[in-house]
Symmetry: C2
Subunit: 190 residues, 2 copies
């Protein structure tokens, strides 16, 4: 099952079988039920999660007291609060399973040990972060420049499977429009 991670790493860097074994020896596997919280606001985020199967999201509570989704993750995606993980300060985010999911995780100490043993993995993690940061830059652009309708169509074209898998109200909060507007789009009225 954990070979999902090895396959993913090998898309970016070479890793022989004994190195792959070392990598996997540092990870813990968890099967978690839908709605399980892996991180809550105010906790220190001590783990990076890699999704083997299922779907997770990070969210915040906005100033109206509502959950607002900031990020989704599916198979072969990493999810964590990098700022809390790096600084070991308390997190601003929640991380939650939105399907029954299989995840593997590594904590900060283990990750540093693994990177010291296999420094070539730094490049893999750098490339993951480069993609994530690039996507976050674009997300900020789209929040500023697209109408709700344009954001929905762009998201649907870019990530069609999310639109099927993710509850409507979460997608609405991610795309920053009301559930009512979302219902209209789904009903083909927009």
């Amino acid at each position: 099952m954990n070979s999902v991670l090895i396959t993913h790493i090998r898309k970016s860097i070479d890793l022989n079988d004994s190195e792959a074994e070392i990598v996997l020896s540092y990870f813990d596997h968890q099967t978690i039920k839908k709605k399980t919280l892996l991180l809550e606001e105010g906790q220190i985020c001590n783990k990076q999660y890699f999704i083997i199967k299922g779907c997770l999201r990070s969210y915040i509570i906005n100033n109206k007291g509502n959950e607002q989704t900031l990020q989704f993750g599916i198979e072969s995606w990493w999810i964590t609060d990098y700022m809390s993980f790096q600084s070991q300060n308390t997190s601003h985010f929640f991380i939650q399973a939105i399907e029954n999911s299989d995840v593997i995780s590594i904590n900060k100490t283990e990750l540093e040990e693994l990177l010291a043993r296999l420094p070539k993995l730094e490049r893999y993690f750098k490339l993951i972060l480069q993609k994530s940061f690039g996507a976050a830059q674009l997300r900020i652009k789209y929040l500023f420049t697209m109408t709700a309708e344009e954001r929905f169509h762009h998201f649907r074209d870019s990530f069609p499977e999310f639109v099927q898998r993710v509850p409507q109200y979460m997608l609405a909060s991610y795309l920053d429009f009301s559930p009512e507007f979302m219902s209209k789009i789904r009903a083909g009225k927009m």
Copy 2:
């Protein structure tokens, strides 16, 4: 002058003097005048810029036709469009000097050569990206959760020197409120 970069790298990883020389041999130095564009929307972003002296920003043209600042950078900050740099697709962003500035830059081919010669630098770039992505996650949270007034106070407390250095209309667009609201804040009316 370029020792600014070496000092910055040495905050994250060890680098001896001969390695430092290798690093610097890969960078080009540019002195650029205020308002110079280093990247324009539609171009391929082929360089990563490190700011030795001065101040730069990335911005977009929003759907009202106005410039909207997405990121500022000052001394010892990196600025680029990572998505365009990585994929070599056209950029969605502009990068511009907002003061007369000294920058050094490295292109994609040179960077890959340098990383092949000194793989330890992967960790340095990973840590830069980890901070940048963590900050982008928080920025998205603040756009969703803070009022304009709260965003201004938070920004002023976090980056006091920017409020002095950066033109008012750019800060207003970065914090996503009108120049009129910004003027009120500056005049102490908010």
